[in-house]
Symmetry: D2
Subunit: 366 residues, 4 copies
């Protein structure tokens, strides 16, 4: 049971269902004295809002965040930060036949087996709305990282077979294209592809990439809590993610040592790497170069054609899903991936870099 908390020193606990009263998050372990406003959180939440483009659900989710604790006179106090977003009148009737029939690709069946019971109005905890809490926490984590000069940049790398061209990479397009692609040409292609999917009552998968810069070398633990292992868990914990890569990832498995090894060089009087096949991690520990990770999303399971399935009584039947669902989750998931990366790195920073530790070591280096 449990499993709604992530992090050791920067602990994030999410709660709430798609059709319950509200959704929220408690962040325990945020340093004190950090200016924090609902407005800053809202900027992140608005990035995951639907209804903005032709390729997202027309459902309106006017998710206004409320900070309930942990902030006093505009600054964090070190106490847990509790944030809440009220659910609004959801059209629950759309979801009525979910109660009886297991939607293919959804978690209806596994929830029923696990809990013997399910909030059948929507995905419950498996709903994409659960990510509201993650994004609110991510807003805070990103802010903490930015004070140390660490920046995160996530974007859509691919939608179905349409991939961005690295030569056309332009950061500005990420927020201006409906696909969150940093390549406007690929974005137009992807939109066309999505419109075709929608015409065919179908959906598509895709890929989100996140680049994290200025992470100091030395983060992550050498054995089970490797930095990349923690990032893998954080990204696989997002609904619909089926694969994870760091650096060259899968390509590395096809290549040779002479191709994949990154030579060390001296650059600006500091140790650096000539290439970055490793994606910024060696032996589970950050190596000072850019962290590059990718999350691979499966297509939205809610499609509008008739599908074969089984009902709660174990009888074969058919289901036709109605309602308003994103034909591709990827553009809205960009900020979720960014948030999970930020949360993971803040936790590692708090774990690793202890000033007392410095004092202890300094004692023996005298």
């Amino acid at each position: 049971m449990a499993g709604s908390t992530i992090g050791t020193l920067f602990k994030v606990t999410t709660w709430g269902e798609s059709h319950g009263e509200a959704l929220g998050v408690v962040i325990d372990g945020c340093p004190s004295g950090i200016p924090l406003s609902e407005k800053e959180i809202q900027i992140f939440l608005d990035r995951r809002k639907p209804g903005k483009t032709t390729i997202s659900t027309p459902r309106q989710e006017d998710d206004k965040v409320e900070i309930l604790s942990g902030v006093f006179e505009g600054k964090t106090t070190g106490a847990p930060i509790s944030m809440l977003v009220r659910n609004q009148s959801q059209r629950s009737k759309d979801y009525q036949n979910i109660a009886e029939n297991y939607r293919p690709g959804h978690a209806d069946y596994t929830f029923d087996v696990k809990y013997g019971f399910r909030d059948y109005r929507g995905g419950g905890r498996s709903s994409g709305r659960e990510t509201i809490g993650r994004v609110a926490a991510g807003a805070i984590a990103s802010k903490l990282l930015s004070t140390l000069g660490i920046t995160l940049l996530a974007y859509t790398k691919a939608i179905g077979p349409i991939e961005i061209d690295p030569m056309k990479f332009n950061k500005d397009f990420i927020s201006s294209t409906p696909t969150c692609m940093p390549d406007s040409d690929a974005s137009i292609e992807a939109e066309k592809y999505m419109q075709q999917c929608m015409r065919e009552y179908d959906s598509s998968g895709g890929v989100v990439e996140c680049r994290i810069n200025h992470v100091p070398a030395g983060l992550g633990e050498p054995v089970f809590d490797k930095l990349d292992a923690s990032l893998a868990k954080a990204l696989l914990s997002i609904g619909g993610v089926k694969a994870f890569e760091i650096g060259d990832g899968i390509k590395a498995s096809l290549s040779r040592g002479s191709e994949n090894n990154d030579n060390f060089i001296v650059k600006d009087e500091k140790i650096a790497k000539a290439t970055n096949h490793s994606g910024g991690v060696l032996g589970g520990i950050s190596d000072g170069s850019e962290l590059i990770v990718r999350a691979f999303f499966k297509p939205t399971p809610s499609i509008f054609t008739t599908q074969k399935t089984v009902n709660q009584q174990g009888v074969e039947t058919e289901i036709r899903i109605e309602g308003r669902h994103d034909p591709v989750i990827v553009p809205r998931a960009v900020v979720v991936v960014e948030s999970m990366c930020a949360i993971t790195i803040v936790d590692q920073l708090l774990i690793n870099m202890t000033s007392k530790l410095d004092s202890i070591q300094a004692f023996y280096q005298k």
Copy 2:
């Protein structure tokens, strides 16, 4: 710091360095009353032994396990099981230039930054020998799972560009081929490929696949501790793994909902799935079908050509690695992947399935 422990109720802690006195593991949370002998552990450890084939290091590692606690009169007592393998006279002189120069693709540099200090005789904690503890724990986890009818089967899926042909899959070849491939033709090709790599003083990456059968539906938590997220972390925590997939994984990101959704069916009077694109997990919870995961390994970074690098003083230099290293780690990593999967699933089983819970729920179902 820390980070050498994995698991919540089935807790595995490894310790030891490649060139220290010994390596070992403490397993805390193993149920009592289970027959356990050193012989059973040794069978697993022998599967990761080098020196058996032409494509592995000729280094002899005669790793004999000793059980120091937790077993009485041949049965587990419920107390922590401590196991130890003594290191034998390693040819430390091979490693002398590691002390000064950072090996490309290795964790020498990141360890130096993190700890300000390093056991330069070998990889220390980043050595493949650290997996001895994991495999000893995996032997126990696999045994526990087998009593519930849960079986694990891991094997080499690819070495560099040579992949197995699913049509030629034969389980028996896994233990008889030097590559641990279940396809003898692919294995011959892969051996040839590796011999070419070795002639060119180079190394290769590859892929390990693990199939887990008869896992009951309902394992895993719906949010951060999804079963696949936990497996991802467990596999990425193995040195050299750069990507993780479950089910169709990356392919799912390219496909459409109509292709990727698995229809539910009734089979043998039970709910099942017509296909298994999901790889046995829906919404982070096992769905009762076969779990299929893949770990993608980078090529061994120890290659025997001269490489450019930087030394501890931050000066550019060259390094020529000597010693005896596996040109491909994959065949020896098969049992490590299997072990990490087994450890992860046992932990989830102990967490999820509580009889008192059953009693509590039964109370209200009366």
Copy 3:
């Protein structure tokens, strides 16, 4: 930092400050299918309400709980249960001189040192109001335990020097006396004592005892996570608790083995103990007899005489606390002690009693 979460499988996270927007709790790991209403939670919360008697603060705290998630159609779903109590217009002006001057016996100074910053309107996280979340969680934990026949009974054992007489123990008085003492004569004495304290602008300490019956033998871990060690931590985590005892506790340190050992006997055809000096725990594991624990509370530090202290600038000064404070916290803390015990035992139950474990062991007992 962090530290607002307790429990491994039954995880309780509290948040909120005395003078913030709201206080609340997230309970992650509650089994599904349990009927649960706000009314049941409210009964527990009302037990910690002030203003009911002459010996408690006249401050009105009309704490109405709202369940925001984890319950559907009146039953728990297995998802995190989020509960919230809004703070009402607190007379913050009473607290103005706290901002400047450190109240003796309070956490003002330690919070300022730790966080460099403090919500000076009240105790913040060190306020007694933080226990609202604990009690809401305790209501659920108690309910779960009651389905297994496990009952908890907490009461005031002493207020200052006035102790209950075990010969006059009557459970019914606990809820009817203003002191929560199960001895009405002692209660009258204690009331008199408190009125004298109040006349002298002073406060008093006291003791809460909790008896837990029908806990099955076998709960608790033999080393660091002993059942009594976990209870000690749970009770010491309540503000103002300065000591903890189980069974004979301190008296045991004065006695001899021949006095303190409990002989085993057979009673109703089951193994039992002739006496219960151990307080229900042997070697950190429940022995099947009644669990008896005690929490010793210091006197309320808010007293209304002038006290010497230091201000934030490190200058000696005087402080005269105003406002409305309980002259003794003990009667209101009774339900908090009961709740922390219930939370601790539910967590141990979920950890210990796994049906799969039973299956594994059964496999070898065949």
Copy 4:
């Protein structure tokens, strides 16, 4: 199950039984670069050695520690430190009737219920020998603390009814008296008392006090992970401890606010307290004054008179324990209490004092 690990960032895992092959400990999270030798560990272990005085067991335990990992060229590497002590030929025949009959006051019965199985040769994990691992870890923790100027001083405060006189306190006596009392007169009285107990085949309880100086203010978390709550858990986790106090502890429950509050003063230009009733903790956070905690031990349950009990078949019987047991555990437990305090405080130091945190806060204080 599990439960053999304590600590979040300074993680201590003990293993081993009284009559198994060996006992040991893995310490994960020790900072790198700290000089460490087996000799330093041995000094701590020798403090818990029996057989030195007339009031301890004549049993010889020549416990020689071996460091197996985590130390290279005499310095810690940051990797887990594994330490081992081999058990020597124990006179197991002494313990034969334990296999059948439950010893009163021991954990034989609770282990049998919990595990359905027990290493009947001795206490197994409930043996005092389990503390070997704690003390080895404590030696390291104490060393780390000493580099920050933090000192720990533990000693026997009472044996049975014989208590030390604070007026006669002399630190030097702690290591020279057989009782570990800092008052030689009380020590002589206590020896006499113990000899009487031994003549009557009986045993005695007692109290260990630990004073910790120069702990910086600001350690500990305000809610569940209060510094005193963590210390309580750490000390109650030692076998035989039945109560815990910090500062005035139980006396505080009898006193009034005007007596118990510690006034803040300025001393040596720093904020200090005029008295220390709090024992160095306010609101769960260290206040910069001396930490004073007490652990109350029950009498050794192994007494040499005939006792009534029940056997494994649930039949009433008698038991007469033989062998060599300490008539009072307290003098040998002094170093165990000191070790558990040191471990707890090091963990809190690593958790609390992050330099990055300092940087983040500094960013906003500009």
